[in-house]
Structure formats: C-alpha cells, structure tokens
C-alpha cells in the first residue's frame, strides 16, 4: 500500500530510458530484416521504406531468393536446431531434476562438492574443453552428429538445471514425503505423485532457461558441427559471402530465432522469478 503513495516519476524515467536502450536495437533488427540491399546501406538510415521479404524468403528457402548463390537456405539448420535443443533440454531437465531432488533430500558424502562441480559447467569457457571434445568426438564418431550436439546441450545445461531444481525441491516441505512413507507409500511413489507435481512450475522455468541456452549455443556447435548437424547460429555466422555480409538474411534469421523463445518465455514468466533465486530465498526465509 505504501508503494502507491510514492512518486512514480523517477522509476518511470529509469524504465523509459532502459526501454529505449533495450528496444531500439530490437526495432532496428526487425526493420533491417525487411530492407533490400540498397535500403540497408542508405545514409541517413531510413525509418520509412517499402518492406522487402527477400531476407525471409532466403532464410526459409522459398522462391527465387533461395536460388541465388548467397541464399543461406536455413531449413535444414532450423530442423537441426529444433531437434538438438528440444531433446537436449528434455534430457538436461530430467537429469537435473533427479540430481536436484537427491541433493535436496539426502545428505550424502561429497554432496557440496558435487553441487560446486555441477555449477562449474556454467563457468568453463567452451573453447577450453573444446580442445579436447574435438579429439574425443572424432574418436567416438560423434563429430558432426545430432547425438554429439545433444550431449553438449545436456552438458552446458545440467549444472544450471540441478541448481534451479534443488532450489524448488528445497521449497517443498519434507513432511509431505514423511507422511506418505508413514502411510505405507514408497519414496518413489511420493516423489512421482506428490513432490513432482508441486514443482511443475520449477520444471517449466528450468526448461525455459535450458532451451534458451541450447537454442542459441554457438561456440561448441561451430567447431563440432561443420556440415551435417549445423545449427542455425552456426549457419548464420557463415553468412559472409563473396558479396559481403548478408545483413538482411542475418537479421531475418535473428527474428526467426527469437520468436519461439519469446513465446516460451511469456508462457513461463510466472515461474522464472522463483527459479532464479536458486533456492537462496527458500533457505533463509522459510
């Protein structure tokens, strides 16, 4: 109640300035994706012009635009991206949920070390392990395969998933399982039918984050997926042909890339804030 009485001017200014910074480039991305070659390099830059869909046609491999030498033809890469990030996210969330539950409920030797070890996956610069993956993947026959990249996506997201899920499990009172156990149900039953439904929001939030990271991953994919398993970001980075950088196509591909994530994010926005506390709030305040 007290918050309503306070002047709203300063917050409005802060949000206003920030929204200009955040939205300006987004607007420019959308505008540039609709410009033709001449319009892209006009000085002063144009705000009003007749839209041209060549960029998008080239991205989806439609019509004449797809036949030109510079067309990227992103459909294959789009399919690769969807398969790899969806499967990778599902597995990372599944494994992270199990490990998060174990770390939340059981005190086993080395648990804290495991948690730190899991978080360390977020901290490793991709190139550092890539030096080795490059060798390992070629030995195992995983180079340039979807399976290989799925493994990478699990790896980059597993630590985050474990941490976020542990936070959510910490927020579920342990009494729930204890009562179930006393009443003759097994722990597995209690986990599956009682605890898991209570953290559905957490699973959604975790999946949201993992998907964003998997969908946008570039460093690993660009080294490990050179032709067959190329994902969208890798394909985009190679849009620098003989005629220079294909700005319209890059921007169109950027718009195409962000749409599914933005929709997903809007759907799970309620749970994201909870997930982002990593259980810190739950620990100190319940």
């Amino acid at each position: 109640m007290s918050l309503h009485r306070q002047p709203i001017v300063l917050p409005a200014i802060v949000i206003g300035i920030y929204m200009l910074y955040a939205c300006g480039p987004l607007l420019w991305l959308v505008l540039s994706s609709l410009k033709d070659r001449q319009e892209l390099f006009t000085w002063p830059p144009s705000l009003i012009f007749s839209p041209d869909l060549t960029g998008y046609r080239a991205v989806f491999g439609l019509g004449e635009a797809a036949q030109t030498a510079t067309a990227m033809g992103l459909t294959d890469a789009l399919i690769n991206s969807v398969v790899i990030s969806v499967v990778g996210t599902a597995l990372a969330v599944a494994f992270g949920t199990l490990a998060g539950y174990a770390c939340s409920r059981f005190a086993f030797r080395g648990r804290d070390d495991f948690m730190f070890f899991a978080l360390s996956t977020r901290m490793i610069p991709p190139v550092a392990v890539l030096v080795f993956y490059h060798v390992m993947f070629s030995r195992l026959g995983l180079s340039d395969t979807r399976t290989g990249l799925i493994l990478v996506m699990i790896f980059i997201n597993l630590g985050l998933a474990t941490w976020i899920m542990k936070g959510f499990f910490d927020g579920v009172p342990e009494e729930i399982e204890n009562i179930a156990l006393v009443n003759g149900y097994t722990r597995l039953y209690a986990f599956w039918h009682l605890v898991l439904p209570m953290v559905r929001g957490g699973i959604a939030a975790t999946a949201g984050f993992c998907f964003i990271f998997a969908w946008n991953e570039f460093a690993f994919s660009t080294i490990l997926a050179t032709t067959q398993a190329k994902t969208l970001p890798v394909k985009i980075s190679s849009a620098t042909g003989a005629t220079g950088i294909e700005w319209a196509q890059i921007c169109a591909a950027g718009v195409v890339l962000v749409i599914p994530v933005a929709i997903f994010f809007w759907m799970i926005r309620k749970y994201l804030l909870m997930g982002m506390t990593f259980g810190v709030l739950g620990r100190s305040r319940t």
């Binding site: 007290s2 918050l3 306070q6 917050p11 802060v14 949000i15 920030y18 929204m19 955040a22 480039p25 987004l26 420019w28 991305l29 540039s32 390099f41 599944a94 494994f95 992270g96 199990l98 174990a102 005190a107 086993f108 360390s120 996956t121 490793i124 610069p125 190139v127 550092a128 392990v129 030096v131 490059h134 060798v135 390992m136 790896f155 630590g159 342990e174 204890n178 156990l181 003759g184 722990r187 597995l188 964003i212 946008n216 460093a219 970001p233 980075s237 591909a253 950027g254 890339l257 962000v258 933005a262 994010f265 994201l272 804030l273 982002m276 506390t277 990593f278 810190v280 709030l281 100190s284």
Partner: protein, 308 residues
C-alpha cells in the same frame, strides 16, 4: 543439515520401502554424475595431459613428445598473452559495472505496480534471448562507421562520426554496449527475484519509522537481497571473462589482435594454429583462474547465508 533418512513420526513402526533411500539417491545422481565425469572430469584430466605434450590435433599420429611445463612457460613468457589478460580485465570490469548498476536500478523501478508491467518486463528480457552471434552481427551493423545508425545518432547530437570498430578503445566500448545490452536483462531478472523475496512488512516497518526511500534501499533492500545479487554478480563476471562470441561477430578480434579476449585467443591457438598442446596449457590456466574466482564467491555466499 538434513537427516540422511527422514524418520517417521512414530518410532517403531516399520516403514515399507520397495527400494532403499540409499539406492534411490544413487540412481538419481547417476545420470548427472556420468555426464559430468564424461564431459568435465575426463576432458580436464586429458587437458592436463595434453598440456605437457608437443601435440597438434591436425597430426595426431606423430609429434606427441613429452615436454613437461614448456607449454606453460612459453605461453606465460609471451607479452602478448599478458596484453590479452589486461584487455579482458578491462572489458569484464566495464561491462559488469555497467550492467549491474543499470540492472539493479531497472529492477528496483519495476517494483512499482503499473498497468502493462508484465508485458514491459517481458520485452525488457528479450535481448537476453537473442542468439549471441545475431547480437554481435546486429551491433556490428549498427556500429558501422559509414552508414550505421549509431553514427546517425552521434551526428544528430552534433558530433563527428566515430570509427567505432576500427579503433581499439572505441571497439572495447562498442562491445561493452552490446554485451550490457544483451545481459542487463539477466541482472534485472535476478535482482527482481531478490527484491520480491523481501517480506513487505520489513519495508513498511522501516517506512513507519520514518526511513527515507534512499535509506530503505541501501539499508533494507540491498543487504537483504545480497545473496542473490552476489550469485548474479558471479555469473556475470565469469560469463564476461569467457566472452568471445560477441568479439567474434563484432570485431573478429581486430583491429590487429587488439580486441581479442583471453578466450578468443585460446580459440585461435587451438583452432587456427592447431597448437593443441599449448592450447591445453592455456585452457588449464584459464580454468584455474575461473575456479579461483568462483571459490571466492561461493565462500562469500555461504558467509552471507550464515548472517541471515
């Protein structure tokens, strides 16, 4: 500390179990452990091994002679490596300070309830969801010195056009602007989560006691949200330290090699020159630094938790 096995309320009554808790714990941990060992521990041990070899993946068959710490010595005695560390440090400091101040301020402003807040908040999160490579190219396009929109804004303000990406200092700031654009939303998100977690009655009590908004922010809000803000700070610091995608797309490390970060240079040694042994040594050094950084923060975090 939790009990290893939660005990039933009535002692003596036998708890039926199809599978023991120990087994469940083990089974639940198994996939995560397997992945982490395969994808982190094993590579790290191999990296240590490679780092002592004169080895190139271009030619795996021969040339893997043991040279001890030579790779490390050769790397660290090169001035250009230290220049990369200094440049990375400047970038990390600049970008983390910018996005942290901005992120916390915006998150605090978003604490007010107003119509359309959810929508505005989601839109504010969008930059974070874009692919880094697209973000890099987008800003490179906007920062173009001849026809880029940033220079149009600069000329509108009455200044001369700036050569954004051709001069090292300008390029540093250009990438900071792009990196902060992309990652301030992450700080906003975590700071918002932290602020929401503070019980409202504490703030109300402070207000009744006559505390000014500034006092309430610095003495109540900030200290109480510190644990999460520290996590955000740690994650942003480490991400900024390993940033290379934006530099790859925006400057390509240029002009010359003036805007190569440590991670960028590592990529170059590993995948342009294919000095695998030397790259492994460099990777080990970077991993040690990052682990050190994270340990400091984990220590801070656990201390903070105890004070609550």
């Amino acid at each position: 500390m939790r009990q290893a096995i939660p005990m039933a309320a009535t002692p003596g009554k036998k708890i039926p179990k199809a599978v023991s808790d120990r087994t469940i714990c083990g089974l639940f941990m198994l996939p995560a452990l397997a992945i982490l060992i395969l994808m982190v521990a094993y590579p790290f041990i191999s990296l240590l091994y490679y780092s002592t070899l004169n080895f190139s993946i271009l030619n795996p068959a021969k040339g893997s002679e043991f040279i001890g710490l030579d790779n490390y010595i050769r790397l660290l005695s090169r001035d250009s490596i230290w220049e990369r560390f200094i440049f990375t440090g400047q970038f990390v400091l600049a970008t983390v300070v910018v996005q942290f101040l901005l992120g916390v301020a915006v998150a605090y402003a978003f604490q007010r309830n107003f119509r359309g807040r959810d929508l505005l908040f989601t839109v504010a999160m969008l930059p974070m969801m874009l692919c880094p490579i697209v973000v890099g190219f987008l800003w490179r396009y906007m920062f173009n010195s001849e026809w880029g929109v940033m220079n149009y804004l600069v000329t509108l303000l009455g200044f001369e056009k700036i050569d954004w990406l051709g001069v090292p200092t300008n390029a540093l700031w250009a990438v900071v602007i792009a990196d902060a654009w992309m990652w301030t939303p992450f700080v906003i998100l975590l700071a918002t989560a932290a602020f929401r977690g503070i019980p409202t009655d504490i703030n109300e009590a402070a207000e009744i006691d006559g505390a000014s908004p500034f006092f309430r922010f610095t003495r109540v809000t900030l200290p109480m949200s510190m644990p999460i803000l520290l996590i955000a700070f740690l994650l942003r610091l480490i991400d900024a330290f390993k940033q290379s995608d934006l530099f790859f797309a925006m400057t390509g490390g240029g002009p010359g090699s003036d805007t190569e970060t440590v991670a960028f240079r590592l990529g170059k040694i590993a995948f342009s020159h294919f000095y695998t042994g030397q790259a492994s040594a460099f990777a080990v050094i970077i991993l040690v630094i990052i682990t050190g950084l994270s340990l400091i923060f984990v220590r801070l975090l656990t201390q903070q938790g105890r004070q609550d």
